[in-house]
Assembly symmetry: D2
């Protein structure tokens, strides 16, 4: 679980964390998740592969305030070798109250063209297939 | 249509506008849309009503680069008096190539409680019902 | 003068535009200024030259609120061929009340090394020397 | 020392962390510093006192890349009871190479008016006087 403290610069005049920041937190949690399963972003980009976001959806259930801590859990929702779907659960800590759920979709590009991970990064392909 | 130039500080190291910025652009286009239909945000907040985002979903079809101009069209997808759903189409200008579509969902709060616009802001209720 | 409307997503829970956004507004005004004097960023980067910020300083005199419009005036404070110093005046519109002043310092890099604009981009060198 | 990992969403197309993010990192380090000396932001704001930034200056000595970790050291440069000046040193970890230095200036407001901390928050006044 990726732990993240809500920052003052992330609040808006409604007194809560602005909803756009959750997209950034999803990316931070995703980067930590990739590191954790053994295929960091930097390593993937070194292989010439980038993994752009093709879609995101977020459901905000309960607002987060400055200085509250959120724990974000990432899991693989689906993986086809060509497309990857990740799910995110945002838990308000330490009570572990679910405050937000989200999904992001990704493809894999090399030199601007969609590629299969099985061929380009078989190691990551195997990991993503197994953590499903 | 809300026109927005993609800024340098919005790019990431992939060389495109970072996907989190679209959530901010949606808000900018929504604020302009509300102004245009005659009920600006400032006026709504003055009535003690806030309209938090309860959900967003974005589909990225084509990336946007620094200094490109995007035109964002907002329309009411559904409105129930209590809940509002807005749709966004992002057009790359001046070719008018569709680059992104998105949806945001909103409720209306007064003193922290969900309220019906029909009672709280009948004028805005009438406008939103008619622009559907 | 570069005109910029303060956005909702730029506010913080103090009810004003968060001070970090002024650094982004300076960049936006600088990009517009470069376009206007005839040497757009995209053109400069196409010549393989980047112009990183080496220092910034900002004095906040009066806060800016959501939906207020600010006009930003950019001028060349000093230019040596190798180093460039720009000055920014932020005017609250339409009253033209001075709300912020700022300075940014820049060098010019080609392939990671500091270069003289006189040699690399003589056209821009001439323009910057004349608008001083 | 406040430790901060540079995030992907903070990069720009030059391939480095965008310079505007340092202002946010200064705030994060400042909030952690206040917590550590025993007067958290939340506590100060609960007393009706806000501490807006009246000026910032940053000198960028060496760029930071995605996934690099930075340690930020905050110290009190000057404190008069009415005005506070903080200094920041950004160290690239784990080599502890100095990459950025910065200063922020603050006043203290209660109900929109400049106040002396000695009267409003004598406890914080004493702490700030002693950590100088």
């Amino acid at each position: 679980m990726y732990l993240r403290k809500a920052q003052y610069h992330e609040t808006d005049q409604m007194g809560f964390i602005h909803h756009s920041n959750y997209i950034k937190w999803m990316e931070e949690a995703r980067v930590a998740f990739m590191d954790q399963i053994g295929m960091g972003y930097a390593e993937v980009e070194k292989a010439g592969v980038v993994s752009p976001v093709t879609a995101v959806s977020v459901e905000y259930k309960r607002p987060v305030r400055f200085s509250e801590e959120v724990g974000i859990q990432v899991s693989v929702l689906s993986y086809s070798g060509v497309r990857l779907e990740l799910e995110y659960q945002f838990w308000l800590m330490p009570e572990r109250e679910l405050c937000t759920t989200a999904v992001s979709k990704h493809c894999f590009l090399k030199e601007g063209k969609i590629v299969s991970l099985k061929k380009q990064l078989p190691e990551l392909d195997q990991i993503l297939s197994s953590v499903r």
